[in-house]
C-alpha cells in the first residue's frame, strides 16, 4: 500500500484523501473553520456545470471550494497498485 501527496483540487472524482497540511495563506482560517485540518478525511463529491466550484465532504458536512482555494490544501491519497 502506497501513498501519494497531491493538492485537494487534483483529487480525482469520487476519491477520498486525508488532509496532510494547509498552506499558510489568507484563506487558511476559513478552511480550518470548515474542519480542513491535518488528519481530516475529505471526499470529492461533485462539481458545478462549469467544472468549478467542487463540493467536498469533510467532517460530516459538505463544502464547496473553488479550484484555486482547494489548491491550498495538501491531501494524502492511498494508491492501490
Amino acid at each position: 500500500m502506497e501513498y501519494e501527496l497531491m493538492r485537494l483540487c487534483e483529487l480525482p472524482a469520487h476519491a477520498a484523501g486525508v488532509v496532510e497540511a494547509v498552506d499558510e495563506c489568507d484563506m487558511r482560517e476559513r478552511l480550518e473553520g470548515l474542519g480542513l485540518t491535518p488528519g481530516a478525511e475529505v471526499v470529492r463529491l461533485f462539481s458545478a456545470p462549469c467544472g468549478e466550484p467542487t463540493a467536498y465532504s469533510v467532517r460530516g458536512s459538505v463544502a464547496a471550494l473553488r479550484r484555486r482555494d482547494a489548491a491550498a490544501v495538501t491531501v494524502r491519497v492511498r494508491i492501490w497498485d
Binding site: 484563506m27 482560517e29 476559513r30 478552511l31 480550518e32 473553520g33 470548515l34 474542519g35 485540518t37 488528519g39 481530516a40 463529491l45 461533485f46 462539481s47 458545478a48 456545470p49 462549469c50 467544472g51 468549478e52 466550484p53 463540493a55 469533510v58 467532517r59 460530516g60 458536512s61 459538505v62 463544502a63 464547496a64 471550494l65 473553488r66 484555486r68 482555494d69
Partner: protein, 616 residues
C-alpha cells in the same frame, strides 16, 4: 425575508431574569430554536447565512428572560464579522447563559466551536439539534457520554418538532439560577486579545466516544439528487425550468382571486358611496373614494394575489435547500464578473424584497464584492414589482394568444428575469472593473442536506406575514399617494406635469402619465400600476378594468413591453434606499445604487422602443 419586524440589536438589558445567547455553526437551526423559545417567527431557511443579524426576544412564559439569536459562526477567531459578534458577546459578559446549538449529523465540526467557547466560559448549555435527521442518516449521539466528557449540560432536541425543548428550557433555567461566576465581571486586556486555538484533535476524540455511525441510506439518495441538480446539462436547465414553473403557477393561480377581489371592492365602494352621499362635501368625497380608497382597493386586488402565491412557493424552495445549489451552479458566472456565487443567494432574497436582499449581502465576506452586490441588488425585481410584471405581460399578450397564453406568459417572465440577471451581472462586472477594483476573493459555501419542508407552516406563515405586510404598507403609502394624485387632478396641475414628461415618455416608448406614475411610486414599487390607472381614468380600477383602461389611452403591445422594462428596472423604493444608506454608510454609494437601475431602465426602454418600431 426580513419583512417582519422584531426588536433587533444586541443590548436589551431590560431583561431582569438574564440573557440567553444562542450560538452555533451556520444552518444548525439556531433561529428555529429561537422561535421555539420565544414564540416569535423569525424567518428560517435551509442555507448557511440565512440569519445575518442578531435578534432579541423574550422567552415564552418567562418574560423576564431575554433570548438573543446570534449569527452563525464556525469558530471564535476575531477575523470574520459574525464570529466577532459571538466572541464579543462572550468576552463582554453580555449574556448569562450561552446555548451552543449543534447539528447532530456533523457533531465533530460543531464541537470545535463548543470547545473554543468552553475555553472562555463555563456558562454553556450544549443543544444537539436535528437529532431526528441524524437518526435517519444513521447517526446516534450519546448525550450522557457527551455530558460526562464536556462537563456541561447536554440537551438533545429536534426544535422544528418541539422535541426536547422542555429539557432545554429547564437546563437554561438551572444555569441562570446557578451562582454567577466571577467571569462576568471585568474583562482584562489580555482576554480581549485571546485567540482561541482550534480543538480538532479533542473534537475528534469526543466524537469517537459519543457518536455511533451506521450506514447512511439517505446519503446516497441525497448525493444522487445533488449530482442531478449540478449536472452539466441538468444543472444549467434547472434554474430556468424551475422559475418558469413557479411563474406559471403564480400567474394562473392569481387571476381568479384578483378578479373576485376587484369585483368585491368596487361593489363595496359603490355601496359605501351611496350610503354616504350628501354627508360629505363633493371635493372631499371625490378625494376619499376615488383617491384614497380606490387606490387602496387596486393595490390589494392587483398586487396581493400574486404575492400571496409566489412567496410561499419561494419559501418552499428555500426550506428544501435549493438556494445553495443555485449559488453553487452560478458561482462560475459570478466569478467571471468579479464576484462570487453568494451574490446569487442575495439575488434570491431580493426576489422577496430588495431591502432584505441588501441586508443579506452581509453574507459576502469581501467588502468589495459586498458593495457590488448591494448596488446591483435592486436590479432584481422584488415582490412589489412582480405582480405589475405579470399584469403587464397579460396586457401585452392579450388577444395575441389563446389557450397556451399561460405558458407563454410564464416563459416571457422567465426571460425578463434572466434579462434582469444579465444586466445585474453586467453592472457587477462594470463596477468591479472601475470603482470597485480589487483582487478576486475566495468562495466557501456549505451545501446543507436537502430537508423536507414544513409545508403547512410555510403556507400559513408566509401568506400571513406577506398579507399583513402588504396590507399595512398599502394603507400607509397607497392611500396618501392616491390622495396626492387626486389633489393634483383637482388643481389641474397634473395636465402640465404630464405634458412636461411626455417627450421623455415617448422616447422610452411609454407616455408622460406612465413616467409620472413610476416617479410617484417611489415610496413603494407596488404603487406604480394602480397610480397609473388613477391618473388615466380619474378613478382606480381593478385588473378587470386594467387592460381596457390602458387600451383606451393608446397602449399597444409595444407600450406594454416598454412599461415591462421600466418596471423591471425601477428606482429602488424608499425603504430599500434607506437600507442601502445604512449598510454602506455613504450617500454617494446610495445615490449610485439608485442611478444604476434608472440608467439601465432608460437605456433599455429607448432601445426596446427603437427596435420594436423598426420591426413593427
Amino acid at each position: 425575508m426580513g419583512l417582519t419586524r422584531h426588536r433587533e440589536g444586541n443590548g436589551a438589558r431590560e431583561f431582569r431574569g438574564g440573557i440567553v445567547a444562542l450560538m452555533g455553526n451556520p444552518n444548525v437551526g439556531k433561529s428555529t430554536v429561537f422561535n421555539a423559545l420565544t414564540g416569535l417567527s423569525r424567518h428560517t431557511g435551509n442555507w448557511t447565512g440565512k440569519t445575518v443579524d442578531s435578534a432579541v426576544g423574550a422567552m415564552r412564559g418567562e418574560r423576564g428572560i431575554g433570548v438573543c439569536d446570534l449569527p452563525g459562526c464556525y469558530q471564535l477567531s476575531p477575523t470574520s464579522p459574525e464570529e466577532r459578534i459571538a466572541r464579543d458577546f462572550i468576552l463582554g459578559g453580555r449574556a448569562d447563559c450561552f446555548v451552543v446549538v449543534c447539528d447532530a449529523s456533523c457533531l465533530e465540526r460543531n464541537l470545535n466551536l463548543v470547545l473554543q467557547t468552553l475555553a472562555l466560559t463555563r456558562r454553556v448549555v450544549v443543544c444537539v439539534n436535528l437529532i431526528d435527521e441524524a437518526a435517519k442518516r444513521g447517526v446516534t449521539v450519546n448525550g450522557g457520554e457527551l455530558q460526562k466528557l464536556l462537563g456541561v449540560p447536554i440537551v438533545l432536541t429536534n426544535a422544528a418538532k418541539g422535541k426536547g425543548l422542555n429539557d432545554l428550557k429547564k437546563a437554561i433555567f438551572d444555569m441562570l439560577k446557578g451562582e454567577k461566576e466571577n467571569e462576568k465581571g471585568e474583562i482584562t486586556a489580555e482576554r480581549w486579545d485571546f485567540v482561541p486555538t482550534p480543538q480538532w484533535a479533542e473534537a475528534e476524540r469526543i466524537t469517537r466516544a459519543c457518536v455511533e455511525r451506521d450506514s447512511d441510506p439517505r446519503g446516497a439518495r441525497q448525493l444522487k439528487l445533488d449530482r442531478f441538480l449540478t449536472g452539466k446539462v441538468t444543472g444549467r436547465l434547472m434554474l430556468p425550468l424551475l422559475l418558469a414553473v413557479v411563474f406559471f403557477i403564480t400567474m394562473e393561480g392569481a387571476n381568479r382571486p384578483s378578479e373576485l377581489l376587484s369585483r368585491a371592492f368596487s361593489a363595496a365602494l359603490s355601496w359605501l358611496r351611496t350610503a354616504c352621499s350628501g354627508a360629505l362635501p363633493p371635493a372631499v368625497e371625490e378625494a376619499l373614494f376615488d383617491g384614497v380608497l380606490g387606490t387602496l382597493a387596486t393595490v390589494v386586488s392587483v398586487m396581493l394575489p400574486p404575492m400571496a402565491i409566489f412567496f410561499p412557493l419561494f419559501t418552499l424552495l428555500e426550506d428544501l435547500g435549493f438556494l445553495p445549489r443555485i449559488a453553487f451552479n452560478s458561482d462560475h458566472a459570478f466569478s467571471r464578473c468579479g464576484s462570487c456565487g453568494k451574490q446569487a443567494l442575495t439575488c434570491c432574497m431580493g426576489f422577496g424584497c430588495s431591502a432584505a436582499g441588501v441586508v443579506g449581502c452581509r453574507i459576502i465576506e469581501s467588502p468589495r464584492e459586498r458593495m457590488a452586490a448591494i448596488l446591483t441588488n435592486p436590479l432584481i425585481p422584488c415582490n412589489g414589482r412582480f405582480p405589475a410584471l405579470t399584469a403587464l405581460i397579460g396586457v401585452m399578450l392579450a388577444g395575441a394568444l389563446g389557450a397556451g397564453g399561460g405558458v407563454v406568459g410564464a416563459l416571457v417572465l422567465t426571460g425578463l428575469i434572466f434579462l434582469a440577471v444579465g444586466v445585474m451581472l453586467l453592472f457587477t462586472k462594470l463596477l468591479s472593473a472601475t470603482v470597485l477594483r480589487g483582487k478576486a476573493s475566495h468562495f466557501v459555501l456549505e451545501l446543507p442536506p436537502f430537508r423536507k419542508p414544513r409545508i403547512g407552516r410555510i403556507v400559513v406563515r408566509s401568506m400571513l406575514d406577506r398579507t399583513l405586510f402588504v396590507l399595512g404598507r398599502a394603507a400607509a403609502v397607497a392611500a396618501p399617494a392616491g390622495l396626492v394624485i387626486r389633489l393634483l387632478m383637482q388643481s389641474g396641475a397634473i395636465g402640465s406635469i404630464r405634458a412636461f414628461l411626455e417627450p421623455a415618455g415617448r422616447l422610452m416608448g411609454v407616455d408622460g402619465a406612465t413616467l409620472l406614475a413610476f416617479a410617484l411610486a417611489f415610496p413603494a414599487n407596488e404603487l406604480a400600476l394602480p397610480l397609473l390607472i388613477g391618473i388615466y381614468s380619474g378613478t382606480a380600477a381593478g385588473t378587470a378594468g386594467l387592460a381596457s383602461v390602458l387600451a383606451l389611452n393608446g397602449w399597444t403591445a409595444k407600450t406594454a413591453f416598454c412599461a415591462l422594462i421600466l418596471t423591471l428596472f425601477h428606482c429602488p423604493c424608499a425603504a430599500t434606499l434607506l437600507t442601502i444608506r445604512r449598510e454602506t454608510r455613504s450617500l454617494r454609494w446610495t445615490a449610485l445604487s439608485a442611478l444604476v437601475p434608472i440608467s439601465a431602465g432608460a437605456v433599455l426602454c429607448i432601445a426596446a422602443n427603437g427596435i420594436w418600431s423598426l420591426f413593427a
